[in-house]
Symmetry: C2
Subunit: 93 residues, 2 copies
DNA sequence: TAGATAGTTCAAAATATTTTGAACTATTTT
DNA sequence: AAAATAGTTCAAAATATTTTGAACTATCTA
């Protein structure tokens, strides 16, 4: 694995190594379409500050797509990143 | 995902979310047979204390098989865990 | 326009993880 | 038997991550 990839790889695993973020990911997988951060936050019962922090980490890891529309931020899973860094991890190292 | 699985899932991602442990895993993947902790530690240049700590976390996550033979501890990757918790993660959540 | 809503940012406090060295057990070598 | 080797354990120190609340920006609603 090259060095830059390794940094991404670690960001991805770190992002997934947390119960709150895992709940976010589960929620996004099962809704299977764009939803607002607020909707997710309410569903899994976390404060908006906490949500903001966790969504940021997921986004920085490339695990979610985010789009700001006016007041609201819409998020969805980035399946490409899951595929590259999770599903194909073992194969690629 | 059930609750017990979630704990394992997080232990697995936590274990993989560290540069030292990722190096260990890379080393074990490419050697592709049992090696001692000492050999790995020398190869990636970490202290034995540090090695002991990191091997313990990998083992607790179920990512490595370990076998003590007299003074030495032989380790290898547990492909089943990689398969269940990494490769099939996205599919299973 | 005032108030409500969605989300971000900041810094402090709380927690968790990692590193380090010394002391230890067990085994092997000289 | 003494010294060397492989690895573990422990506690302290160093770092990193997470949570919290207050203050903030921007947009929407009444």
């Amino acid at each position: 694995m090259k060095n830059v990839e390794k940094i991404n790889q670690i960001a991805v695993f770190k992002a997934l190594a947390d119960p709150v973020r895992l709940e976010i990911v589960e929620y996004l997988k099962q809704t299977n379409h764009e939803v607002t951060c607020g909707e997710v936050g309410k569903a899994i019962d976390i404060s908006k500050t906490s949500g903001s922090y966790h969504f940021k980490l997921l986004q920085e890891a490339g695990l979610i797509n985010a789009r700001k529309e006016a007041r609201e931020k819409y998020v969805s899973l980035n399946q490409k990143t899951f595929n590259n860094y999770v599903t194909n991890f073992y194969k690629n190292i």
